[in-house]
Amino acid sequence: MSGARPVWEEKPTAVGLAGKGAALTAMALVVLIPLWSVLVTSLSSRQTINAAGGMVMVPKGIDASAYVTIFSGGIVTRALWVSTMVTVAGTVVSLTLTVLAAYGLSRPGSVGHRTLLFFFLLTFLIYPGLVPSYLVVTGVGLKDSLWALILPSAISVFNLVVVRGFFQGLPHELLDSARIDGAGEFRILWRIVLPLSRPVIAVVGLFYAVGYWNVWFNALLYIDSNDKFPIQRILQSMILQGQSPSFSGQSVGSLPPTQAIKMAVVMVTVAPIVLVYPFIQRHFVKGVIVGAIKG
């Protein structure tokens, strides 16, 4: 489908081309301008920010003091640490359990296969609702524990179905011959299936990691202590509720401009996603769509 224009297709008109170009440019700019503006403002000095009136579009020198401030201890540093831990631990737990269950459910005809599959798929149609979930999570003693941000959402059945679909698309002969050679299921999963499944693992891992990094509402619901707040809670209270965070070790007068600090917090919240996602993106279609169709 890429490459040259098919011979039977009409030559595009000048108006059509211009319209298309404008639409594509607009699509890109609508995403890039906010990112650019926030980035530049976070790196601007007080004079530049005041001269621009709040948001800076044209950089005049680089002033990284806002980043120094938020990384030198205080609530933002702690929240970044909390979010990193939750993201890493959560992704490991989610990926492990999802891959195991996806493999366990990938063989029609095994004991309990239909029942178990139904048990998993039924979650698409029936969901518990906020109040009972809250009661269960607090009831099992997870209130104010970071595990409350991980365990209740650890299994995404959607992701599981995608991984299972991908596993079922692998060549059966390969697994069968390993089985004949006496390899156990765990060994087959680890040695044969996983190395062949990197695209889907990467994509599903990204989905999980992004979910954990973005956790906000569950933190609002379950986390009471300030020192366990993930970064999204801090971002919300700073920008949407206008509270100024506390920073240790610096007097208020010597702090970089509030606007730069706020935008720096936005940038550190965006950064992990922007940095990781392009490497995974090329697997999207291969990993997910194919997995889903085969499923």
């Binding site: 890429s2 195991l100 004991v111 179905v161 971002l235 936005v266």
Partner: protein
């Protein structure tokens, strides 16, 4: 690659199959292999599935059963934990539902939810289709890849981030207001105006997810047989007629599928998005069913009532999705769940 289901988002493709047709019907060999032997063969698979199943049991099915507190005057202080409080609380039948249906704020929230769903069905739903068709017509693979990379990105941002970006761009102290003021124009009130809130939340949803929404349609477009286009062109169909007679029919199953999913979710319109902006815009415009449940239960401790509202929402959602699926069958599409 199987082309039975043209292209579908994961769970749908999965549900579209009758569960595990392992044997051709008619000659199902049932207990040929005794259960004990099958267990000896398959226990590792069961062991692998167990942890995930356990988590779903505790955090999905247990709360689903827990919805029975909707029929209680649940008192969280009646015991030293939710379970003992549940056992000690009084059963009041449909009392919570009576209160719910008698509360004007509930009907306001329901009305807001349905208006926003309808509005987004018109102004959001077709957008990814149009964008995908536009992008698919770009010949340069590099340009296509670049645009995809850029417009997929906001899908991975949290709602806190999305609202933050909108505040920084369109809010009272944002980029737009600042530029307008410098040009001597009084900036309009965008982020806190209840009258235009429905447009704002739709714009936010579009910014976050319209790009990502293209991905299924792009995959479906790639699967349309290029010969169909060529034959249509040879028969004298121009580009608009080819769009109508080749492209759109090729996308039809995916469109129907996503419509069913959206209709089944008609009572959900992005909980976090509304919770984050409810204070700035006010309850009249920004209270939707999900935020109503939250403010009527978690913040007040009125759990039985909140569970009743949540149960109502889940029940209506289930009916909606089954009804939409039925309609899809009637118009000759496979829909979400096949008849078995």
């Amino acid at each position: 690659m199987s082309t039975e289901v043209p292209v579908a988002a994961g769970p749908s493709a999965e549900l579209a199959r009758p569960p595990a047709p392992e044997q051709p019907p008619g000659k199902r060999r049932r207990p040929r292999v005794p259960l004990r032997a099958r267990l000896r063969r398959d226990w590792p698979l069961l062991l692998m599935t167990a942890p995930a199943a356990l988590l779903l049991l505790v955090f999905h099915y247990l709360p689903t059963l827990g919805n029975v507190v909707a029929f209680q005057d649940y008192n969280p202080y009646a015991g030293d934990g939710p379970l003992s409080a549940f056992l000690a609380s009084e059963w009041i039948g449909f009392g919570n539902f009576e209160t719910l249906f008698g509360d004007p704020a509930f009907w306001d929230a329901l009305w807001n939810t349905l208006s926003i769903t309808a509005f987004q069905l018109i102004f959001f739903f077709p957008l990814p289709i149009a964008l995908a068709i536009l992008l698919n017509s770009v010949i340069s693979g590099k340009l296509r890849g670049f645009i995809q990379t850029v417009v997929y990105l906001p899908h991975f941002f949290s709602w806190v981030l999305v609202v933050t970006f909108f505040v920084q761009m369109l809010g009272g102290a944002g980029l737009l207001a600042q530029e307008l003021r410098q040009a001597g124009i009084e900036p309009p009130n965008i982020m806190t105006n209840p009258d235009t809130f429905i447009v704002l939340v739709t714009a936010e949803a579009v910014w976050k997810d319209a790009g990502w929404g293209m991905i299924v349609f792009l995959a479906a477009l790639a699967m349309i047989d290029p010969n169909l286009y060529e034959q249509a062109a040879v028969d004298g169909a121009g580009r608009w007629r080819r769009l109508w007679h080749v492209t759109l029919p090729g996308l039809r199953p995916v469109i129907v599928l996503l419509l069913i999913l959206r209709l089944g979710d008609a009572l959900s319109v992005g909980f976090e998005q509304f919770l984050l902006q409810r204070d700035a815009v006010g309850r009249d415009a920004a209270e939707v069913l999900d935020t109503y449940v939250y403010y009527q239960s978690i913040t007040t401790g009125n759990f039985g009532f909140g569970a009743a509202a949540g149960l109502f929402k889940a029940a209506v959602g289930l009916v909606l999705i089954l009804a939409a699926n039925r309609v899809a069958h009637l118009i000759g599409e496979r829909g979400l769940i096949s008849r078995q």
